[in-house]
């Protein structure tokens, strides 16, 4: 009896704590979602009210008049390209660090990984200069390269720890089966590391989709902008169109939420995956 009451209390406390945290985390999102369907006039009158009329037409207006269609396309191109390059290069580098012994291996690994401690602001001016120098400033290619460089250390880190846990017998078996090191990478390492690869793909997609700082510095043309820069569209010097801003934000956020909802389990699996038996 006592145990049951104690369990109920503990359970109740947990539910309340989780509910509070959920409200704290999801509250702003729901507020923006509600504002995205209201006009700026409605919002100014009553900021926290629920929508009277659902103005879905605002999404069409943002998509066409607000140029969000172009931003969306740019985001898809830049993020998919960066994630593809990151995954291939990151996996190759991680495979080498994890499976081969070569001079300066630890030093090189440390060098790659040490860049993770620097905040992006430190490198942004140098990066700007380099891209201008190579004619890559204000190009999507330049942004893709910057993203690859920025996310490579964490990608290598996640994949290296996974590759290192793959039993070496598996590689030896493939060697005995007649496969070269290059073939072993493509036919054994990559498929076996699929949980970790999914993790890095999802993680990089979400982070780069939301990335603002590099995009705002390295892209100036409106038709090359990515979604996070779209909010500038509705921010004038004197006036902020808060209603359209919320609509634009929802267009930017929804794909990330969808990716997370569908792939969160895979993300956690990849993060916590153990050795292959």
């Amino acid at each position: 009896m006592t145990t049951s009451i104690r369990f109920d209390l503990k359970h109740g406390f947990l539910v309340v704590a989780l509910a509070l945290y959920t409200a704290f985390a999801a509250g702003p999102f729901l507020w923006v979602a509600s504002m995205s369907l209201r006009t700026t006039t409605e919002i100014s009158a009553e900021p926290y009210a629920l929508p009277d009329t659902l103005h879905f037409s605002k999404f069409a207006i943002a998509w066409t008049d607000g140029n969000y269609g172009t931003y969306f396309g740019n985001s898809v191109i830049v993020v998919l390209s960066a994630v593809a390059v990151l995954t291939v290069i990151g996996a190759m580098a991680a495979h080498c660090f994890a499976r081969y012994r070569f001079p300066f291996r630890r030093f090189l690994y440390f060098l790659v990984f040490s860049t993770i401690i620097f905040p992006p602001q430190i490198t942004i001016i140098a990066l700007f200069q380099i891209l201008v120098e190579y004619g890559l400033f204000n190009t999507r290619t330049g942004l893709v390269l910057a993203y690859v460089a920025f996310q490579l250390p964490i990608t290598v880190y996640i994949l290296e720890s996974f590759f290192a846990r793959i039993p070496s017998d598996l590689y030896d078996a493939a060697r005995m089966d007649g496969y070269s090191e290059w073939e072993i990478f493509w036919r054994i390492s990559l498929p076996v590391a699929m949980p970790a690869l999914s993790t890095t793909v999802i993680l990089n997609t979400i982070l780069l989709w939301n990335e603002f700082l590099y995009a705002v510095v390295l892209i100036t043309d409106d038709d090359k902008r990515t979604l996070p820069l779209g909010i500038q569209k509705y921010m004038g010097d004197q006036l902020i169109d808060i209603g359209m801003l919320a609509t634009g934000l929802m267009i930017a956020i929804v794909p990330v939420v969808i990716v997370y909802v569908f792939f969160s389990e895979k993300l956690i699996q990849g993060m916590t995956a153990g050795a292959i038996k």
Binding site: D172, A173, A174, R175, M176, G178, V192, K277
Partner: protein, 370 residues
């Protein structure tokens, strides 16, 4: 089938003083089942990996069918290997695991199908071809690992402790199956284990390794009965051989007198040895009335310290006066003795082995080394 010849094979890691494998010479004949046996770290797996081509050779020569293989990559040696962890590709079905090596070697689809089906038939894997390794039991995974080697039809099979991850019952049945497989295929097999029972029951010959070197090579019973030194004598046999140090008093007609406990034993001992180690296997002790008629015996009085009745036999732990270490005897299952009893044991002195007290090397002529 391949003849594998190791000529002074050596493996040294980095700047390490001691070689992991030191000057190992071994001639493995076509169709032979050679077992490399030894404790952990004795260099047996490293030797196997050098034969496989997975470990670079530091010194010496490895040849298969007369062709030097030192610099030939693993994939071109026509060798298949079964690993302790099975090393099945987790993302492939059983069929693809079996076919993976054949695909790389450019076999036609029909030939791959035929070989995989044949191997699956031999190993009882036919119902599981569409499954992935995680959906198989330990024994089934082991069979897939074997099958992957069989389909290749290689010159030489290598096994690196393939049964050590299986439970005891399955290990016994797989052991028998491997022996049958060897008889059926007739391929040269080199098998690494630290389990003396596997070595004794499977090998055509055993190569016992110690500290990177070959301690002794020979047929299982020869090695068991005529160990080359005290290491081999202790490593083979369970319970372990009893090793008792004894003084030697030279006698007439070439026979010397050894003193073990209270017993005086007459034995042939090469001249020049004042002290020897006497090796007596536990099964060479007999309780009164148990000794075979032809046993050449000496009598030994002992006090029973403990009795292990194992059903098929009884193991006695004995305190023999004048012998520092406890002595183990394996006697018949009908032995009626209890701890504290005084017993009079007969030792079959023909089965007794003598070793040099300083070096531990066998003194009897039956020993073979190298």
């Amino acid at each position: 089938m391949g003849n594998v010849k190791l000529d002074r094979l050596t493996k040294r890691y980095g700047d390490a003083d001691a070689a992991a494998v030191d000057d190992v010479s071994l001639d493995i004949e076509r169709g032979e089942f050679m077992v490399l046996l030894g404790p952990s770290g004795c260099g047996k797996s490293t030797t196997l990996r050098m034969i496989a081509g997975l470990e670079p050779i530091t010194g010496g020569t490895l040849s298969i069918d007369g062709e030097v293989m030192n610099r030939v990559p693993a994939r071109d040696r026509d060798i298949a290997m079964v690993f302790q962890s099975y090393a099945l590709y987790p993302h492939m079905t059983v069929f693809d695991n079996l076919a993976f090596g054949l695909k790389r070697r450019g076999f036609a689809r029909e030939e791959i199908d035929r070989r995989v089906t044949d191997a699956a038939g031999i190993l009882g894997l036919a119902p599981y071809l569409a499954r992935k390794p995680h959906a198989l039991s330990g024994g089934q995974r082991q069979r897939v690992a074997l099958g992957r080697a069989i389909v290749r039809d290689p010159k030489v099979f290598l096994f690196d402790e393939p049964l050590s991850n299986l439970d005891a019952a399955l290990r016994v049945s797989m052991r028998n199956e491997l022996v049958k497989l060897h008889q059926r295929l007739g391929t040269t097999m080199i098998y690494v284990t630290h389990d003396q029972v596997e070595a004794m029951s499977m090998g055509s010959r055993i190569c016992i390794m110690q500290d990177g070197r070959v301690a002794q090579v020979g047929r299982p019973l020869d090695v068991y009965r005529h160990p080359a030194n005290t290491f081999v004598a202790s490593f083979l046999g369970s319970p372990q051989i009893n090793l008792v140090e004894s003084g030697v008093t030279p006698g007439e007609d070439g026979r010397s007198t050894l003193v073990v406990g209270g017993a005086r034993i007459h034995a042939h001992c090469p001249p020049g040895h004042s002290r020897v180690i006497v090796g007596i296997r536990p099964e060479d002790f007999y309780l009164p009335g148990e000794a075979p008629d032809d046993a050449v015996g000496a009598s030994l009085a002992a006090r029973v310290l403990a009795v292990e009745a194992l059903g098929a036999e009884t193991v006695l732990l004995l305190d023999v006066e004048g012998v520092e270490k406890d002595v183990t005897a394996r006697v018949g299952r009908s032995a009626h003795t209890a701890a504290g009893d005084l017993v009079e044991l007969t030792v079959d002195t023909r089965a007794m082995r003598l070793f040099d007290a300083a070096s531990g090397v066998a003194l009897d002529p039956g020993s073979t080394t190298g």
